[in-house]
Amino acid sequence: MTDISASSFVRQHLVPERAAPVKTTGLFGFLRTRLLNSPTNILFTILALALLWYTIVPALKFLLVDAVWSGKDRNACLADNAGHQVGACWPYIQAKLTQLIYGFYPAGERWRVNLTFAFAAALLLPLLIPRLPAKRLNASLFFFAFPAVAFFLLRGGGLTGFGVSWVAGLLQLFDDSIVNAGQILVNLSRGSAIGPLLWGTGKIIVLLGSLIGWLILPLSWLRDRLQASGQPLWFDFVLTAAIVSLIFFALSGGTRTGQRALVGSLVTFFGIAIVIKLMGLDRGGLPVVDTRLWGGLLVTLVVSVTGIVTSMPIGIALALGRRSTIPLIRIFSIAFIEFWRGVPLITVLFFATYMLPLFLPGNFSVDGLVRALIGIALFAGAYQAEVVRGGLAAIPRGQGEAASALGLSWWKTTSLIVMPQALRHVIPGLVNSFIALFKDTSLVSIVALFDLLGSLHATFSDPTWSTPSTAFTGFAFAGMIYFVFCFGMSRYSLFVESRLNAHHRH
């Protein structure tokens, strides 16, 4: 046995205790590790502080400290009269607030705009909160009922006919057009080398046209009878409701399983009837407010909401078309998408404003706002199509194959299995393009529509309020509105994203 203490490996003295590790939590730890941990970092921190000092302080000073809060005209916002350096001129915003929100919408009718805003908020908010029930009803109300109601609320006017008249009118137009085209082909065939071919095609088209003409004859007769009666709208409405409900009933399986569809259709028509009655659409409706009087935030919201609502179906259709195996449809979708994505929005708006009216029949004048809306819908639809296509590509093939194995048709596979999953995948992408669309609506001010930015620009030329700080005040105000909308949307998309990716978290 050897003495254990003789071994040189046994320590005789206590090790002196080490200093506590550098504190990394709390305010001081944070300062030490994230701001001041090296000379370069100290330099960066000082630079950043200087930058903050030279941006935040003047901005706050401009917006709050030096601001003028009340006054009647520009005199209140001049440095000589205010007695100090003048920052934001808020009375100017107060004076121009109605113009920035409603444009030149008549003062007596502004409750209609407010009501529309209220409807939109009441329908949109529950749609955005995932926990609330009845999403299907809510979504269909927002995407189908609300646009129609908003149209009659904002623009005014009434209805003189309903489904039967519209269908009859449209078919009549279409029929006339193709009979005309056939005639022209037949006339062309005389002096042409491929005369017989043209003649044959023309004759076939004319024959087709007259066939359609015979088919729609009962419909036109019905329409004329309806118009001759005392209550054209209501008779037409009842007839349309009956026909559509019966079609739904028959399509969903008749007496066997069709009751649900029948009841749904009848309830929908009942709802439409109530709206028509409430708004007095059968008696001319509300007074018409021309869209040239619309402006400000109203136009911005109308354009962006319409763009969002109309671009979705276009985008979905184009995305499906681009993935279709049918060559012509795929080629057309690719060409369409690449064309609209390849040109700037301004040229699209120029196209819609100057070129589109030339392409439509001469007796068919389209409102300036509607023209811009068409351009924006096509443009945004092409962008949505690429987003939706990304979602479709992310769905495993097995999903579609399993659906076909169960015997579902292509339509059912797409609408029940593939599309819902695909859309859920790309919600963040869709919201991103909604934000882009919302920002892009400011471009309509270039084609003489007075959206928020356009109205703001217009107020600058008012001599009553021309001061050195007017422009800055206006931009600060409009910037806050734009920022709140866009930032809100982007935060919401982040929220949805994290909710959808809940299974990825650990």
Partner: protein, 401 residues
Amino acid sequence: MTTEPRNPPPQYVLRLKRALGGKAGWTGLAVQIVFAAVLAWVAYEIVANARTNLETQRIASGFGFLRNTAGFDVSQNLISYTGSDTYTRVFLVGLLNTLLVSVIGIVFATIIGFVLALCRLSPNWLLSRLGEIYVEIVRNLPLLFQLLFWYLAVLAALPAPRQSINLFNAVFLSNRGLVIPRPIGQAGLDPFLAAVAVGILGSLLLRGYARRALFQRGQAIRIGPYVLGLLVGLPLLTMLIFGLPLTFELPQLRGFNFAGGSRVIPELVALVVALSTYTAAFIAEIVRAGIQSVHKGQMEAGSSLGLSRGATSRLIVMPQAMRVIVPPLTNQYLNLTKNSSLAVAIGYPDLVSVFAGTTLSQTGQAIEIIAITMGVYLVLSLVTSAIMSVYGWRINRSLGA
């Protein structure tokens, strides 16, 4: 005895069906025929309506107007232009102005974007927060809003020329725009440019040679000093022999305006500032995502091999990040070019402004003019996406090898 594999049956009908109607077969063919008929009908309607409308409104058609005299002035032209030139010349002037603003904007946007991305990735909390705030604010405001802000609020609030902001008595910023010294070519300019070209070409060749030597023979060659000599020494030498290549004419304040120097119109300044600061926010996010997409282990592996931090970033992280960065970055460049069409809002004479704006209102030939304008942008984006496909193909090939 071996049995030959039987040929598959020809199935001509099936192949025909596939070729004509895709997977959907005869149904697909029927759909295509109906679709073609609808397209033909829409096309017919458009042509017929356009013809009648043009006749009733007495608008000429065809591209003959391109040879007519324009008769209006353009506030900025890179090629010589007067009011008596033709509309073709107007088109070229506008196109060049668009390209000018796009190129300047792209350069600045890239610089600001990379700096912002580095800020956001910096370990310094305050700096990364500042970068984030910048990106959030700029991305959530419309570009047109920012453009008008710079043009109507900031530039308009600048002092008049007499009180202009002065940098070294050479650069003056006022509400009339930016006045900078104008370079004037001297006798030494041509040899100088030739020397620069030779220098660039020589360094590229040298780099290629060094890479080949490294990859094939494992021989590392230091080319730094030679490249420096070629790029800096050669031009300096020609300057010593042939004299200065350029002299600068300094702007002078005379009366209420500047004499001498060249003036950058305020519209261009506003457009470049707005486009580059806006696009920079998007570029910053792309660059950040690209750098973060490189796995942390790559950096650690680099340092375990004894490379310095800078060398690791330059040789290991950046090449891998660039693969992720380049396609969306190109997309942003394309966006910037397309967004430069917002120039029409502040009256900078770009393609849309002078051609689809002034020329359209003078001639009324909407169809031809808008088609040409859209065509220009379409060609630009199609060419860019073609180049990007080639790039993606090369990247995939190099990854596969």
